[in-house]
Subunit: 198 residues, 4 copies
Amino acid sequence: METTTERKPTDRRKQVLEAASRSFAAFGYKATTMDQVAKAAGVGKGTIYTFFANKEELFEQIVKDLIAELKDVAERTLDPALPFADNLLRILQQVLAYRDRHGLIVKLSQEVKEFGTPMATGGLEAVERSIISYIAGHVSNAIAKGEIRESDPVLTAYMMLKMYLALTAEGGHLHEPLDTDQVLASFRFYCLEGLAVG
Amino acid sequence: METTTERKPTDRRKQVLEAASRSFAAFGYKATTMDQVAKAAGVGKGTIYTFFANKEELFEQIVKDLIAELKDVAERTLDPALPFADNLLRILQQVLAYRDRHGLIVKLSQEVKEFGTPMATGGLEAVERSIISYIAGHVSNAIAKGEIRESDPVLTAYMMLKMYLALTAEGGHLHEPLDTDQVLASFRFYCLEGLAVG
Amino acid sequence: METTTERKPTDRRKQVLEAASRSFAAFGYKATTMDQVAKAAGVGKGTIYTFFANKEELFEQIVKDLIAELKDVAERTLDPALPFADNLLRILQQVLAYRDRHGLIVKLSQEVKEFGTPMATGGLEAVERSIISYIAGHVSNAIAKGEIRESDPVLTAYMMLKMYLALTAEGGHLHEPLDTDQVLASFRFYCLEGLAVG
Amino acid sequence: METTTERKPTDRRKQVLEAASRSFAAFGYKATTMDQVAKAAGVGKGTIYTFFANKEELFEQIVKDLIAELKDVAERTLDPALPFADNLLRILQQVLAYRDRHGLIVKLSQEVKEFGTPMATGGLEAVERSIISYIAGHVSNAIAKGEIRESDPVLTAYMMLKMYLALTAEGGHLHEPLDTDQVLASFRFYCLEGLAVG
DNA sequence: AATGAATGAGTCTTCATTCAT
DNA sequence: AATGAATGAAGACTCATTCAT
């Protein structure tokens, strides 16, 4: 086995994806340059183009991976035997474990329309749409079982996502970052219980 | 006095600000070019630079004006005699009247970190920070009067803003646009009452 | 009046066209870089793009101008009263006056297919096509008047153009450059009289 | 000896030359990429560089081979007993049999100066120079024997080549492609007989 | 010897900013 | 004061060439 610090050559695609992911998360799509990504990945600029036809495609791949990853986490965590609220919080807890990924999710969801409508439409909303539709299914179930109050499942799912994002990374600059327990407690408080007095 | 059809010279600054405001709202910061702004404002490109040292400064001025304007609307609408929830909804209602402005608020809040940290930090969060701090004051009051449940006023104010934005423009692509009444009802539902049954 | 060496600002478009023309003639389309052209024209690189949307459009403009210019020279020189051969030689003589332009005509006609079919088809052949069709009209006339032997006018026009080009710039590297009189004499010899003995 | 389906290693060089030859003919020098050539030759890209130091050298080798091949065809076809015109047409007929090769000759002769003077000078004109000098020798002979009119043998040879090229591939886009008989007849008509009446 | 993944110099193009008029 | 022609730094992308396997 190699004793040097060299990475396996097959790592390169992953290196690029990870560097790009970090860069998009930190600076957004437009402000991320291919030079930057190459430098951060420790590869030549041309190398990126052996894996991805162009910047847009690199971006789309990251989005796609992200969606798949999130879905996977959710599926694995879901326990149909538990009440809705518990499942919801458990999944959030799991997803929160990927703190790194969050930067990207958030950045992306902020930047949805950054590209002029053309790319926005076909592109980025995929993440949110996919997540929302997934949650909405479970919201419907929960309503049917009388676990939560009657409401438009899609709008509710959408609001949940927004609250969740607000509590995790988005607020980084606007309020003190919350630890996992605080996020879960706050989510329960704002989303489920409401502010109105008893 | 001029006898030509020329507008007063002092108009030019306002023309630029308004054109830029519309452009930033529609396309975002990066996708807005100074040519665009000049054309939309009906002035020469160079004229912009007689008022604003650079694109960034133009942008910051718009942000500042926006904050002031919002504060003003809120102040004028607030009636200390009314309970918190009522005031909150009345103010939202007022702000909603400026549908145009919304495009900008939303676009801006999405784009907060678009610029690489440097500009983001010093720049755009000002809007949200200012709004949140304003709301937080009233939240504190409301808690003191027992009008709403105990909570961190800043976090609560922050969550309110996020929910509000989620219900207005942000969702444009993710759920049907809501009319003013729907926004207010939904805000009351999600923010004040919560999803939990009974 | 200016005593400096400054050219009139309005010259810039022409400067670019001329520099590009020279460059295309000397190196061909692909081997000509926009940096080169800018440098040669004594303007900034961006200036080119204020006049021409891209390299291709710059190129097409040059081609168009060239066609117009050649047509103009021919029209002005043509004297319907003279026999075909005389007119032909007079026009060639005139066109030969623009020795500079020749480099471009030749280079272009060599490079016709350099671009992969797409651009070639829509683009460069325009020059030759236009010239050939013009000559072919006069060839038809001459045949009708019995001034030259029966033949396919278009093919004959085409061959004439090729011979002419062969005698002027194309041969620069393959035989001693000929002066104007030699070109005219040779053209008469090869094109009209033929090699066959009496 | 290898028992696999591998071709002899010495085949590889020829495969590369042929693939490159086809590619240069079809797309020209600049538009031909080494990837293309490798793919078409069915070898790895690196393999090309074991035979040829760089793209330019590969190109030059093809040119050299082409010259040799043409000379060979001409030598084998020439019958000193026949009159000049007959020999000329017989050789052309033979060369025309290599329709494939033509693509390359033509493309090359068009692209002679494509490379900026440096490569052009040292490179491509070799083909034409060699052909012309070969023909010129026979022209001299023919003149000495009184088979054709007095003229500068080199210039005449040069004009013959140009007319020939004009009649074969070059005109592809400017007139209907001619079949072998039409080429020979037209060559006789334009080159030997001339357009002048009676 | 053969390979093709990796590289980075070199291209075209955009756009914030300047400055002569 | 106002203009917009001119600029060049910066970005996405290509491709001849190298080198570890």
